[in-house]
């Protein structure tokens, strides 16, 4: 149980898909202009990631290596479409405001990367926790980005006016350059936290590892 919890925690900071592995950045930059979109996208991606990882991990011995990529894509595309349809039916407003980025989860590198690097080789339970951890790691980053961007760029949070009416919204933060700036600042904060976590781990386990490299098990590199 402790091991599974460790896998889950890994995705939050130490192996965060956006801040450490640095994949799936384009859609995260595009949807984080409002908090509602950030949460929606986070949940959508977590759903697709967890379901795809679990299914592929369960069938991993029945997937021939030479055609694993098309099979991964079929599975991911199926779950993305399911989620797209469900969102259209039950959360039409959210589905409308995110538009094309929902179907684009199919080609999101995070899903493909985790399926290929992790769940195609690991047991189901491990994959489940990896998917949850990575999904949550993705979601909190989107939330962090969108809170700053919506607050400064629009003066609102979840559509509610927060800033006083005298506050002139800084459109810069809604635009891509502002997104990159907020992203890099959050990344600096997250990586300093990661460094501290790894440092304390080294003390306990007395592992020889530089503070700045990826974890020794190599999962991140393969992704």
């Amino acid at each position: 149980m402790k091991r599974l919890f460790g896998i889950f925690l890994n995705g939050l900071v130490v192996e965060n898909p956006l801040f450490v592995i640095m994949i799936g950045l384009c859609s995260s930059m595009a949807v984080t202009t409002t908090v509602a979109n950030g949460i929606g996208m986070g949940i959508a991606l977590t759903f697709v990631l967890v379901m795809s990882e679990v299914i592929i991990s369960a069938f991993r011995k029945l997937i021939p290596g030479s055609i694993r990529m098309p099979i991964f894509l079929v599975v991911i595309a199926a779950f993305t479409t399911i989620m797209d349809l469900e969102m259209k039916a039950y959360f039409p407003a959210l589905s409308k405001s995110m538009g094309v980025y929902i179907p684009l989860v199919v080609v999101n590198c995070i899903v493909m990367g985790r399926v290929e690097a992790y769940s195609s080789k690991q047991p189901v339970l491990d994959s489940l926790f990896d998917g949850l951890g990575m999904g949550l790691g993705y979601t909190w980053v989107l939330l962090a980005l969108s809170i700053v961007r919506e607050l400064l760029g629009n003066g609102t949070l979840l559509g509610f006016q927060i800033m006083p009416s005298s506050f002139e919204p800084m459109i810069f933060f809604i635009l891509p350059p502002g997104g990159f700036l907020v992203f890099s600042l959050w990344m600096a904060a997250s990586n300093s936290l990661k460094r501290r976590i790894l440092a304390s781990r080294h003390k306990q386990e007395d592992l020889q590892q530089s503070c700045c490299t990826l974890p020794a098990d190599g999962t991140a590199e393969k992704a």
């Binding site: 595009a30 949807v31 202009t33 409002t34 979109n37 029945l62 997937i63 021939p64 030479s66 055609i67 098309p70 099979i71 079929v74 599975v75 595309a77 199926a78 479409t81 399911i82 349809l85 469900e86 259209k88 039916a89 039950y90 039409p92 409308k96 405001s97 995110m98 538009g99 094309v100 961007r149 919506e150 760029g153 629009n154 609102t156 559509g159 009416s165 919204p169 459109i171 809604i174 635009l175």
Partner: protein, 339 residues
């Protein structure tokens, strides 16, 4: 050996696809009804929003778009207690990030009763604010981008940053949607039989007190289609002629109405429609005003004696060339008599 291996892999892939498709088919079956219901409810709510007092909506096929890029999806006559109140039209047309779908309501007195944006695919946080009910282009009065069209007269100019407030950092979205609204509203007005005043030849020949159709239509210059020729009289004497003509412009058509007095002076012009991309910005009165007083027969050139509308230089050139051709032909017709 190799061949059997290939078949085996193909079959395995096919098996995964079949399982995936069956799963999707179940989900689609389960959700398609709800999705269709939602869209229908959205449409009904949208129609109700632009015509709150209407009791029923009757489908009509009379509304025709004049711009091939702007498509009328569905058109309804709004029926109230006093009969037909106007039209509510669902249409879509190109915007910054894809098509925007909206509903435009036009009442029988030539006023837009409301605009509701159903779908917009522009940049989230910028252009997408067109469909955001809590994004105000005028914070003091809490007017949304679509909301500002309510109460607007069809005879207004529909020019972004002039009589239409733009969405911050989304000028292209603002212009595109304004152009869709204007085109749809005009098409609705035509269907309702209230053409709007821009069809009134008196606007370009103010001196005349009566306008009658010309006995013989104006001879069309090459490449120009003459839609209408009229003669303006004052107290029985001919004071000028008015013609409406259409010609190719940058990537669409431009239609202008030109009035010429008996002495060959242009009394006024009106750009009726322009289907160029971003061409609707030349429909302004400012652009038309500069032709007043010019003599037919003198060259009109954009850049030297005609100012182009910023962002629509090619459309300005197209319209200017057409105005010149029509004015020259009218002057010739006046000299020849027989009108």
């Amino acid at each position: 050996m190799k061949r059997t291996q290939m078949f085996k892999l193909g079959l395995i892939l096919a098996a995964y696809c079949i399982v995936g498709c069956v799963g999707l088919a179940f989900v689609y079956n389960g959700t398609s009804k709800t999705i269709a219901q939602r869209q229908q409810a959205d449409l009904q709510a949208g129609l109700k929003e632009v015509f709150p007092k209407a009791t029923s909506f009757k489908p009509t096929d009379k509304v025709k778009s004049t711009n091939p890029k702007i498509v009328i999806d569905e058109a309804y006559l709004a029926i109230g207690s006093t009969g037909t109140m106007g039209t509510a039209v669902k249409a879509h047309g190109p915007s910054y990030g894809g098509d925007t779908t909206l509903i435009v309501g036009v009442s029988t007195d030539g006023t837009i009763t409301g605009v509701k944006i159903l779908e917009n695919k522009d940049t989230p946080g910028l252009g997408a604010n067109a469909a955001n009910p809590s994004y105000y282009v005028n914070k003091a009065t809490k007017t949304t981008f679509a909301g500002q069209f309510a109460g607007k007269k069809l005879t207004d100019e529909f020019v972004v940053k002039k009589d239409v407030l733009a969405i911050t950092s989304a000028t292209i979205t603002s212009r595109s949607i304004t152009s869709i609204v204007q085109t749809v509203a005009k098409a609705s007005a035509d269907a309702l039989g209230i053409g709007g005043s821009e069809q009134d030849p008196k606007a370009v020949l103010p001196e005349a007190d009566t306008i009658r159709p010309a006995a013989t239509p104006m001879t069309a210059p090459a490449g120009v289609t003459v839609l209408d020729t009229s003669v303006g009289t004052k107290g029985g004497t001919v004071v000028g002629v008015v013609a409406t003509a259409k010609a190719k412009s940058y990537d669409g058509d431009v239609t202008v109405m030109v009035g010429v007095a008996t002495d060959g002076t242009i009394t006024g012009i009106k750009v009726v429609t322009c289907t160029d991309s971003l061409g609707s910005s030349i429909l302004t009165a400012d652009f038309a005003k500069q032709f007043v007083g010019r003599k037919a027969g003198t060259p009109l050139t954009v850049g030297t004696n005609v100012d182009a509308v910023t962002g629509a230089t090619f459309s300005s050139k197209g319209a200017t060339a057409l105005v010149q051709q029509v004015a020259d032909a009218l002057a010739k017709a006046l000299a020849g008599g027989g009108l």
